[in-house]
Symmetry: C2
Subunit: 312 residues, 2 copies
Amino acid sequence: MDLVEKILQRDARSAARLMTMIENGAAEAITALKALYPHTGKAFVIGVTGPPGSGKSTLTDGITEELRRLGKTVGIVAVDPTSPFTGGAILADRIRMQRHSLDADVFIRSMATRGHLGGLARATNDVVDVLDAAGKDYVLIETVGVGQDEVEVVRAAHTSIVVAVPGLGDDIQAIKAGIMEIGDLFVVNKADRDGADRTAMEIEMMLHLGMATGGWQPKVLRTVAIKGEGVAELTRAILEHQAFLEKDAGHRQKGKERSRWVFRELLQERVTARVLEKVTENGTLERLIERIAAREMDPYSAVEEVLKKAGL
Amino acid sequence: MDLVEKILQRDARSAARLMTMIENGAAEAITALKALYPHTGKAFVIGVTGPPGSGKSTLTDGITEELRRLGKTVGIVAVDPTSPFTGGAILADRIRMQRHSLDADVFIRSMATRGHLGGLARATNDVVDVLDAAGKDYVLIETVGVGQDEVEVVRAAHTSIVVAVPGLGDDIQAIKAGIMEIGDLFVVNKADRDGADRTAMEIEMMLHLGMATGGWQPKVLRTVAIKGEGVAELTRAILEHQAFLEKDAGHRQKGKERSRWVFRELLQERVTARVLEKVTENGTLERLIERIAAREMDPYSAVEEVLKKAGL
């Protein structure tokens, strides 16, 4: 039986194998992803973002437990955006994986980027598709909310959860426009700390400032994830948002937005690779770079020349 | 006199105006950048990266003071990668700008990304070029080292400085392969804290593990930036690295690598925009996204179709 068949039959080891192929950029991965794609689109994707140390992993764990209690299967994709300084997370993930390792209906994958290889968002999307095709009801994507690509990953989820903690840059600036836009649910975690009221109030104020869009009213919730406090309420809020989307044709809309973004990310990667390949073959690339470095030609004109040659 | 002329005559207000145009994606910005480009390539670019709270800004300030003492002019580009949680930095920047505001030979610019607009790396490169053309001897780029694009920005500098602090994820994992590769200089800031020795030792161990490349031997320095301790030594190390590069043809090599990366970033942005434009005009894009969302077509096949149509 081939890899695709096995994944569709929910074989975790085969799913893990394909994920490794995706991360390594193996060509066979694309063939498998194409075959799996018609079987995707069923999973509900939840993005969780927040600064380092905000307890995203513990929250994600808590939500997973609640969803399991409801009989749902869960996939978790932990995006470790460049890993330079977030080393602690890797260890924590190992511990988490052990905790859930006896539960065949929870699958956790840490995405470590190789820095310069790029394509993090695209690879994350591919892994979400594998989990989706493997029959997971919910896929949680967890990422540090710093870095353009990383924020986009969460924006493209069905439900986006933004996690804050009291006292981390505790003025109104701490959560800024960019991230406020993407949140369907806001969580003040470690809410037993001083300043939790203030942080929650500041988020609520900013939400009211940006209001009047109609549709879903973002919620602000409080949790102490490490003690499990507020996690059931948060999970309920996720399910409410899911129901809201499904009732309101919002699910289809979000799905379409997600497809748009996935397509764009993939197009960007492929089209750049193809054009670079073309100009590399005949030596044009090196000649242009030499000229740019020597200040004989500016990068804008160089790119225009390449586009012209490529007939674009 | 036009904008380009004024910038070449080191007019700070004109430089600031062009930077705003760059951030807003104004078409006239490109014309100006093309005209400025032949006057660039003189500035020495220093990248400073480290986790939030590691004191990057204070260090950058300290280096700036030392360089000013040597009669050098300085531009600072503070990249605030998505700004979601690093709000504090903005306030701090304002204070810094006031501090240097009487010094016409220091120019500070904060780059705030608009999240989904993308192009952070490209815009940062453009701003560096403006500072370069405006006659700054040194350009310091300061960025949180999380996020693919953000790390790349620092990698593309002539001298890359990686800042760590004791106790932040204080096992050997804390500074991982990806970021170790890019550092020419490593700084343990807040070195008066417990664990500074251990952090420095761990970095040195990792450097020795990755050794034997020949060329520049990365250094590990200790600073207490807030008290100015070790900053003169750090600045001396930067100048040593600069001298090393210039002696060893490394400067030319780094310049070429920088050009390669700048070209790539720009190519990616432009080529994606052009192809998207083409498929949007005739309605292909919407049709493809509908089909992807409906799982009638997978994104890989959709991108292949577009590439084929574009003759790529």
